[in-house]
C-alpha cells in the first residue's frame, strides 16, 4: 500500500538537493540503452524531460494528442520565466525566489521542493540561451529582465509576449535532435487512455491512435505523466480546447493520489464571456495592470445604464467611479496578486456593479485613460511642447501606450471590436491554471512506483497560489533538471529487467477497460452532444466551486456533478465509429473524466475549511473580507485516494513543515 511519504532528504535546506544528487544510484550508459521510458504530454515539462532522458541514453516514447509536440499549451504562456540570476544586481538570490514562491503560495507548498526549484532556475536560462531561445536583450547585448506581481526584484526573463512559445520551441528543438537520432519515438495524435501496472509498478500505457482509432499497447520501465492541468473542468478557461485531465485522472484511478484539486488560479484580466456561443476565454497579460486602473461605476443606476448601452463609461465622472482595488488595497493598488484582484472583481459584480451586457453582468473596466494622460504630459515635456492641447496630450500618450502594449490592444480589439485606446477595456477573471494535481514525492514519483508526474500535472511547487512567470520555470526545472536525476535512481533497479512484454494479462485487462468504455460511448445513442454536458459541468463548477465557495454550494455541487455524470452516461450521443478520426469521441472521454474530477474537486474544497490562495471559502474571511488561513488545522497537502466514487475518496494528509520560513498573513493593504 502506498503511503504519503514525501521522501524529503535530510540535512539543511540549501544542501538537500546537492546531497541527494551525490547519493542517488546511477545507471551506466550501456544499461540506459536497455531501458524504455514513456512520457505522456510534450509541453515544457514533458518535452524537456523527453529530450534530456533521450540524451542520457534511455529509449523514450513520447505521446501527445496534438499533431506535433510544438502545439502543447505551454506555448500560450505570455509573460516570462523567473530565475534567480540577479543580473540586475537588485538583491535577488535563490533564497529570495524560494521565499517569494512559498509566500505567494500562501504557505501551502513543500519547502524542499520549492528550494530546489529556485536553485535550478538559473540553469534553465543558461540552457535555453545555449539552445537558441531568443530572449529579450538590451543594447549591450545582455539579457533583459522585467518584474512581475508579488515580488520586489526584476527576475523575469522574457521574449516579448511569447515567452512560453519560445521556451517550448526550445524544448521541441531539443526533442527534434533526439527524434532525428532515433532516441525518441514520437507518437503524435495519440491519447493515453490508461496506465498499465504490473506487480505494483507502472509498466506501460494503453493509447489510442487518434487518426485510425486503433488501440495500442506500449510498454516501458517507467511512465511519466506531463499532461498539464485540469482547468477545462470549468468548460470556459484560458486552457486550450484539447487540454484535458484524462491521463492524470486515469492514473489516479490506478492508484496515484490526487493532491489539492481545489487549488485553482483564476486570472483577473481576461476578456469577459460574450455569450452562450463562447468556447474559450482569452487572457490579457498581467502586465496591463501596471498602467491600467480597474473600476466599476459607484452608482448602481450608472452600472445598469452602462449595461444597457445608454451610458458610455467615458461619460461617467471621476467621482462616480469606484477604483475598488485602489480603495481597498492602497499600498498595492491595482497590482495586488491574482487571487486578490479576482475576488475583488467578483465582489463588485455580485453587488450589482458589473458592466457587461449578458446574463451574468460579470465584467469590470480596465482603464488606460489616466496612463495615456500621464504619458502624454511626460512626452510633451520631453519634446518641449508648452501648453499642449488635450488632443496633443492624448495623441502622445496613446503612442507610448501603443509601444508598450500595442499587440495586446490589437488582440483585444480583434476579439471585442472595441477600441481600448478610446474606451476602457472590459475584463473579468477566468480560470487559468491549476496548482493542484497528481501527488508526487520529492522524486516527482506518484504513489505508484515507476509512475511520475511533472509540470502542471503534479501539485508540487506552487501551494495554493502560483506567482506569475513561475509555471514555465517549474515545467522546465522538472523536465530538464530534476526528473533526469530522480528517475535514474529508480531505474537503477531495472537494468536486468529486459523489455517489458505487452502480451500479459495486465495489458489485456487495461486494453479491455479502454475498449469497453469507448464502445459504451459510441453505442450509447443518447440525445445530447458532449459539449452539452461539458457546459453544464462548467456552470456548476463556476457558480459553486469557482472564485468564492461555501459549504452549502459545495455540497450541492458534489451532488449535482454526480447526477450530471449519471445523465451523461445515459444520454450522451457520440456520432461516428471508434475506428476512425473521431473528435467527438475524444471529447467524450475527456468530459467523462472531468465529470469525476469535478466531484473530487468540490469534495476537496469542502474539506478545506479555510481560505488560502486560490481557494476562498466565504465562511473563512476576515472582517474586511480577506482570506483567512487556518494554519493550525490545514497546513497539509490533501492527497486523495480513489475508491470508486470520487466523493468517497480517502483523504491522506501530508503535513507541511516550515523550518526555514515563518508563516505570516499575506497583506496587501
Amino acid at each position: 500500500m502506498a503511503t504519503v511519504d514525501s521522501k524529503i532528504p535530510q540535512g539543511p535546506l540549501a544542501d538537500k538537493w546537492t546531497n541527494y544528487k551525490n547519493n542517488i544510484r546511477l545507471v551506466n550508459p550501456a544499461n540506459k540503452r536497455k531501458i524504455d521510458v514513456i512520457i505522456v504530454g510534450t509541453g515544457l515539462a514533458g518535452g524537456s524531460a523527453a529530450a534530456t532522458l533521450a540524451e542520457l541514453g534511455y529509449n523514450v516514447k513520447a505521446f501527445c494528442y496534438q499533431d506535433s509536440p510544438r502545439r502543447a499549451h505551454s506555448i500560450a504562456a505570455q509573460g516570462g520565466i523567473n530565475a534567480a540570476k540577479n543580473y540586475q544586481g537588485d538583491g535577488d538570490s535563490v533564497y529570495r525566489l524560494f521565499y517569494d514562491t512559498i509566500k505567494g503560495g500562501d504557505y501551502r507548498s513543500r519547502e524542499a521542493n520549492v528550494y530546489r526549484l529556485a536553485e535550478v532556475s538559473a540553469n534553465i536560462i543558461d540552457q535555453c540561451v545555449a539552445q537558441g531561445v531568443p530572449f529579450a536583450r538590451d543594447y549591450g547585448g545582455l539579457l533583459d529582465n522585467r518584474s512581475f506581481g508579488g515580488v520586489l526584484v526584476s527576475r523575469t526573463f522574457y521574449a516579448k509576449g511569447q515567452t512560453g512559445q519560445q521556451l517550448l520551441l526550445g524544448a521541441y528543438s531539443a526533442m527534434n535532435r533526439q527524434i532525428a537520432k532515433g532516441k525518441i519515438t514520437m507518437y503524435n495524435r495519440h491519447e493515453m487512455l490508461d496506465v498499465v501496472v504490473v506487480d505494483g509498478k507502472a509498466r506501460g500505457i494503453i493509447a489510442r491512435n487518434l487518426i485510425t482509432g486503433e488501440i495500442e499497447r506500449h510498454s516501458a520501465h517507467a511512465v511519466v505523466i506531463a499532461s498539464g492541468g485540469y482547468g477545462n473542468v470549468f468548460f470556459l478557461s484560458t486552457n486550450a480546447m484539447g487540454s484535458n485531465a484524462t491521463a492524470a485522472w486515469k492514473i489516479h484511478k490506478r492508484g496515484a493520489y490526487f493532491a489539492n484539486p481545489c487549488y485553482t488560479q483564476i486570472h483577473p484580466t481576461c476578456i469577459p464571456v460574450h455569450g452562450d456561443q463562447q468556447s474559450k476565454l482569452t487572457l490579457m497579460s498581467e502586465s496591463l495592470r501596471n498602467d491600467g486602473r480597474i473600476w466599476v461605476p459607484k452608482k448602481l443606476e450608472d452600472a445598469k445604464a452602462v449595461r444597457e448601452g445608454k451610458l458610455s463609461p467615458t461619460d461617467i465622472a471621476e467621482e462616480d467611479r469606484d477604483y475598488y482595488l485602489e480603495r481597498r488595497y492602497p499600498s498595492f493598488g491595482n497590482l495586488v496578486p491574482r487571487d486578490v484582484a479576482s475576488r475583488a472583481a467578483k465582489e463588485r459584480c455580485d453587488a450589482g456593479f458589473g458592466i457587461i451586457n449578458n446574463s451574468t453582468n460579470e465584467g469590470v473596466f480596465l482603464d488606460f485613460s489616466s496612463a495615456i494622460e500621464r504619458y502624454g504630459k511626460e512626452q510633451a515635456h520631453i519634446h518641449g511642447i508648452h501648453n499642449p492641447s488635450k488632443e496633443k496630450i492624448i495623441q502622445l500618450g496613446e503612442e507610448v501606450v501603443a509601444s508598450k502594449y500595442g499587440n495586446l490592444f490589437d488582440m483585444y480589439q480583434q476579439i471585442t471590436d472595441d477600441n481600448p485606446y478610446k474606451t476602457p477595456m472590459k475584463i473579468y477573471p477566468a480560470v487559468h491554471y491549476t496548482m493542484g494535481g497528481i501527488w508526487v514525492d520529492y522524486n516527482l514519483m506518484t504513489t505508484v512506483p515507476g509512475l511520475y508526474a511533472i509540470g502542471e500535472a503534479n501539485f508540487s511547487d506552487h501551494g495554493a497560489n502560483r506567482l506569475g512567470a513561475s509555471a514555465l520555470m517549474q515545467g522546465l526545472a522538472d523536465g530538464y533538471f530534476v526528473l533526469p536525476y530522480t528517475i535514474g535512481d529508480y531505474l537503477a533497479d531495472d537494468i536486468r529487467t529486459g523489455p517489458i512484454p505487452t502480451d500479459t494479462p495486465e495489458f489485456d485487462a487495461a486494453e479491455k477497460n479502454v475498449t469497453d468504455s469507448i464502445e459504451r460511448l459510441i453505442n450509447n445513442n443518447g440525445k445530447h452532444s458532449v459539449d452539452y454536458f461539458h457546459k453544464k459541468l462548467g456552470l456548476i463548477m463556476w457558480n459553486k466551486v469557482g472564485m468564492a465557495r461555501n459549504a452549502k454550494g459545495l455540497s450541492e455541487a458534489i451532488h449535482e456533478i454526480a447526477e450530471l455524470r449519471e445523465q451523461f452516461w445515459k444520454e450522451v450521443k457520440v456520432p461516428g465509429t471508434a475506428n476512425e478520426f473521431n473528435q467527438e469521441l475524444e471529447k467524450a472521454g475527456r468530459v467523462a473524466d472531468f465529470l469525476e474530477l469535478g466531484e473530487l474537486f468540490a469534495r476537496d474544497a469542502l474539506e478545506r475549511n479555510e481560505s488560502c490562495g486560490g481557494h476562498y471559502r466565504e465562511e473563512y474571511q476576515t472582517e474586511e473580507g480577506e482570506a483567512k488561513r487556518d494554519d493550525e488545522n490545514y497546513t497539509y497537502v490533501a492527497a486523495w485516494e480513489y475508491t470508486g466514487k470520487p466523493s468517497e475518496a480517502i483523504l491522506h494528509k501530508e503535513d507541511l513543515k516550515f523550518e526555514n520560513v515563518e508563516l505570516k498573513t499575506r497583506s496587501y493593504k
Partner: protein
Amino acid sequence: MNLTLKIWRQKNADAKGGMETYKVENISPDSSFLEMLDILNDQLINEGKEPVAFDHDCREGICGMCSLQINGQPHGPGRGITTCQLHMRKFRDGDTIYIEPFRAKAFPVIKDLVVDRTSFDRIQHAGGYISVNTSGNTQDANAIPIEKHNADKAFDAATCIGCGACVAACKNASAMLFTSAKVSQFALLPQGRVEATERVLNMVKQMDLEGFGNCSNTGACELECPKGISLENIARMNREYLKASVK
C-alpha cells in the same frame, strides 16, 4: 447572422472528397469563426449527421493548430490572425463561405478539414536545433553578448507557429518561409552559427523531399503569415544555402 457554408468533406485519407452545403442561423457577430463551426457541429450531431472535423486547440492564435482555407485565403480575410482569431463580424449576413483544408501534396488530408502537417516536423528533425545537451552545464547565459538588432530579428523569425498558412497561400505550395524562419533564427545567433552549414543543407534537402513546391517570390506567404514572418528570412536562407554549398 444567417450563413451558407460550403465545406470540404472527406471521410478519410483515401476517400474521395467533395464540397457540401450547410446552413447556419442566428450566429452572433461576436462569435469566432471556430465557434460558428462548433454551432454547425452541434446542429449536425443533433440531426444525427457526422460533425465536420477540423483542427484547433489554443484558440488564441499561438499553437498553430487551426488551419482553414476560408474563401480562398488561409485563415480567412484579415492580416496577422489565425483562423481562431477570425470573428464573424468580418462577414455579412447572408454570405456564402467556402471552407477548405490547407492544400499541398505535403499536407495530405486526414479527414474533412484536418490535414497532416508532420512534413513540417520532419523538416525540423533534419536540423531545426542546436546540438547542445540539456545538462544545464552550459556557460552562463550572459557569456556571449548578442547584438540587440540580431536578437530581435532572431526572435521575429522564431515566432513562427508552424501553422502552414505560408504553404496554403503559396500558389506553388512552397515551404520556404517556414523553413527559412528556423534557419534564420539560428543563423542570427552565435550559438546557432556553429552548425549553420549542415543545418541549412539538411533542412532544405528534407523540405524538397517532402514535395513542397519552389518559391517564386510572390510574397503571398508573408502577407498571410499570422505572425508576419518576413521574406527577408527566405533571402537569408538563400544566402546561407549558397554559402554552405560552396564550403
